[in-house]
Amino acid sequence: MPSAQAQITRDSVLKTDHLTKQVTSPEGPLTIVDDVSLDIAAGESVAIVGASGAGKSTLLALLAGLDTPTSGKVWLAGADLTILDEDGRARLRAQRVGFVFQAFHLVPALTALENVMLPLELAGRDDARGAARAALERVGLGTRVSHYPRQLSGGEQQRVALARAFVMAPAVLFADEPTGNLDTTTGERVGTLLFELNAQTHTTLILVTHEQNLAARCQRTLRMEAGRLV
């Protein structure tokens, strides 16, 4: 496909053009993401699947602005990530992006409420406490607000993470193996909650997962093999 200047469609919220990421290894340059071009519309739910080492998480990091590509372009919510510095990308993420991680990534020294308040405080919101409490109630943890992560089960921790991700009503939510550290039953509950919240907020969902039934709930599935979309 010719490498023309990409046209951002009217409702496109995430777009890449010949996105490539290479790293240096002892064996020489290693291409992790290889010439990926995609276009995701606002409100769409997209699953990125593939074997381990296919480059899914690296692609997700590039799409979210957590890393910079070796070549190519990424537009997120109308902004060209490749021309923003790290602080610029951070400011964009604060306003438009939410994250859910496989390892939950809750701050151990903060309570559930304080963890959910974190993105609100970083964005300078005055109603951080109230909004965080409401988000926790929405995920069924209204009575656990003052508990620390070590006092919560894996599923409860991931629900706190969901509350934190959705409390800012992000334009795009990136989820990296959200049920990877959970048992099947808990994983299904968390997965259901994820899609419920997504439907309520009309957030664009980018989901990296191994699980076929979770991927099947997305509107579109992208398969990666050896860094390329197939």
Binding site: E86, H105, V107
Partner: protein, 642 residues
């Protein structure tokens, strides 16, 4: 955020280390501050003023008028030696004639009977009255109510002088004293052309006004006039206090260095455990600037808390120490000023900047991708950025304590050499340990593998703990060495009592009296007062003089004579006199005064001894083994062949 961080418990060690460092420095700081203030206070009492202008000539009214104009107190004081008579009895006496307001600092103590406990009095003798001291009354057989003849005047003894603040602490002021009203001085007709009189103007007032007035005095005083302030009073005590303070500060610096190591280690650990959280916060939208400002504010808050708590602990510690040493101080020490607290705060900031900030700055450089890849961390700092602040802080702390360039360089270079040696040894140890992996048991293998996998960290820990142990041992060794070397530097038979001004007729009886009571008499030396007036026929005012020996040229000295060179003396130039030299006017001069006056063997020195001018030739220069510690060379700086 700090409160939330505190909950994690990772800042506790950092805060504790800083608090101990601040407590150590401020504790010593408060103690030295109070002792220094007490010495200064006593120094002003020794001067009987804040500043004293002295001259062998009458001092003009201009200085006094200027002082009054500036809102200062000023008093005239005239001192001279003269014989005081009571009937047929007479005694050479130090006469102090003072004006109203004397003393401006300190107190005159008087009593109604000789050798009684004195009480402070406000005011000076009225016209026609005098206050002789107990020795003068004992020597002349007088008492309160007696009449004493001083020159052409006669005065009534109204009180017994017990002590004056500016009595004088040197061996020179050994004659009894008498206090009189300066308005009575003309009536004595003691001051004639050629009389040797010491005129003084005493000034006292608020510190800042005194400090403003001193430059005016220095600018407007005559060449013969000499300005003295608290630095000139009790210089020996002040010097000893400063030296003791510096040793204590150096000792506390050792604990500060230990705490610095603890701060560095805890900061590294804290940062290492915060990398994931900071990466997450960046993911959620925190900028590098925000992360950095949070870190800096945390540092500032920790410094403030450590400074406050540490200063409080330091203050309590010095109070406890003073109570334990109460017997060593005659008076209550004045309260400390706030300077040690400022020092504590500066120390806390300096330690954090030097030992924690470089690690904390790494947090701002954590790559966001770490949330997905934990193997990715911040790029290591350049060596100069990683260690430069710590080195600078250590150098600053050491210099602020020792305040001597040579000692600072010696200490710093020694420390640097030790750390370098330690690092090399640590690296070698870790390398050799790695080679042993295959030949040790399972348990040991994991430990050894850990050591060699994190080689840089392992070496850093070896250096940190090794340096900590070294400074602890150093303090212990230095303390013992200082005590031992001081003890061994003193001869076994060092005198600890000195008797001065024994009348020649009483000499043998007095020595026998002491010997019968078990005293071991080392030497009995004759002594006479003399004033150097010329060097090689050039009047002494033109001679160069410097340092603490300038007094040799400006006032009377104690001269002695003996035929044999003492065992504690050694000649550095010239030769000691022999029997063939007896009768020749030869002198032997101490090395300190040789350096001060630039005198050599063969030079001619002219002395005024009891009004008689005597010229002698420098036959030798002698060095005293124990000059400063007053061993057997107690008073003489000049020996004469007789």
């Amino acid at each position: 955020m700090l409160v939330r961080e505190w909950r994690s418990g990772e800042l506790g060690v950092l805060l504790l280390a800083l608090t101990v460092a601040v407590a150590s420095l401020t504790g010593v700081g408060f103690l030295v501050n109070r002792i220094g203030a007490a010495v200064d206070l006593q120094a002003t009492e020794v001067l009987a003023a804040d500043v004293r202008l002295g001259s062998p000539q009458p001092i003009s009214q201009a200085s006094l008028d200027e002082a009054v104009r500036r809102g200062l107190h000023a008093v005239r004081s005239t001192r001279l030696l003269s014989v005081v008579f009571q009937g047929d009895q007479s005694q050479l006496t130090n006469i102090h004639a003072v004006g109203p307001g004397y003393p401006l600092r300190g107190h005159v103590l008087v009593a109604s009977t000789p050798f009684a406990k004195g009480e402070a009095i406000t005011g000076i003798p009225a016209k026609g009255e005098v206050w002789p001291d107990s020795r003068l009354l004992a020597a002349t057989g007088g008492s309160v109510g007696s009449m004493l003849a001083i020159g052409s005047g006669t005065f009534r003894v109204s009180r017994v002088l017990i002590s004056l603040p500016d009595q004088g602490g040197t061996f020179a002021e050994l004659a009894p004293s008498l206090l009189m009203n300066i308005q009575d001085l003309p009536a004595t007709q003691l001051i004639q052309p050629g009389s040797r009189v010491s005129y003084s103007l005493l000034f006292a007032g608020p510190r800042e006004r005194i400090d403003d007035f001193k430059p005016w005095l220095l600018l407007n005083k005559k060449p013969a006039e000499r300005l003295r302030d608290i630095r000139d009073a009790s210089p020996q005590i002040k010097s000893a206090t400063e030296r003791a303070g510096r040793f204590l500060s150096l000792a506390s610096l050792v604990s500060v260095l230990l705490c610095a190591i603890a701060v560095a280690m805890s900061a590294r650990r804290y940062v290492h455990r915060r990398l994931d959280v900071v990466a997450l916060m960046k993911t959620l939208g925190a900028t590098s600037g925000f992360t950095l400002s949070v870190s800096l504010l945390q540092l500032l808050a920790i410094a403030c808390v450590a400074a406050i708590i540490g200063s409080a602990v330091g203050f309590i510690a010095q109070e406890w120490l003073l109570r334990a040493l109460r017997g060593l101080f005659n008076a209550e020490l004045p309260p400390p000023n706030l300077l040690p607290i400022v020092l504590g705060f500066v120390t806390a900031i300096a330690l954090l900047v030097g030992f924690a900030l470089p690690s904390l700055l790494q947090l701002a450089r954590v790559p966001t991708i770490r949330v997905l890849r934990r193997d990715v961390g911040p790029a290591p700092l350049l060596v100069v950025l990683a260690f430069g602040p710590a080195v600078a802080v250590i150098a600053f702390l050491i210099y602020s304590v020792v305040r001597e360039v040579k000692l600072f360089l010696d200490f710093t270079l020694g420390l640097a050499a030790f750390v370098t040696l330690e690092a090399c040894a640590g690296w070698l140890l870790v390398y050799l340990a790695g080679r042993l992996r295959g030949s040790v048991g399972v348990a040991w293998r994991y430990g050894v593998a850990n050591l060699s996998r994190r080689r840089a960290e392992s070496v850093l820990q070896i250096v940190a703990f090794g340096t900590g142990i070294m400074v602890l041992l150093l303090l212990s060794i230095v303390r013992n060495h200082v005590q031992d070397s001081w003890r061994h530097s003193l001869p076994e038979d060092l005198p600890n009592y000195f008797f001065i001004n024994i009348p020649p007729a009483d000499r043998d009886a007095f020595v026998n009296f002491l010997n019968e009571r078990g005293a071991q008499t080392s030497r009995v030396l004759p002594m006479i007062r003399g004033r150097l007036t010329a060097i090689n026929d050039r009047p002494i005012e033109g001679a160069q003089s410097a340092g603490d020996t300038e007094n040799f040229a400006s006032r009377e000295q104690n001269l002695t004579w003996e035929s044999e060179l003492g065992a504690d003396n050694s000649l550095v130039a010239g030769r000691w006199w022999t029997r063939a030299d007896f009768g020749k006017p030869l002198v032997s001069l101490a090395t300190e005064f040789q350096d001060s006056l630039h005198v050599r063997v063969g030079d001619r020195l002219t002395f005024d001894i009891a009004g008689e001018s005597i010229t002698a030739i420098v036959g030798s220069i002698s060095g005293s083994v124990m000059w400063k510690s007053s061993c057997q060379n107690v008073t003489p700086s000049t020996c004469a062949a007789s």
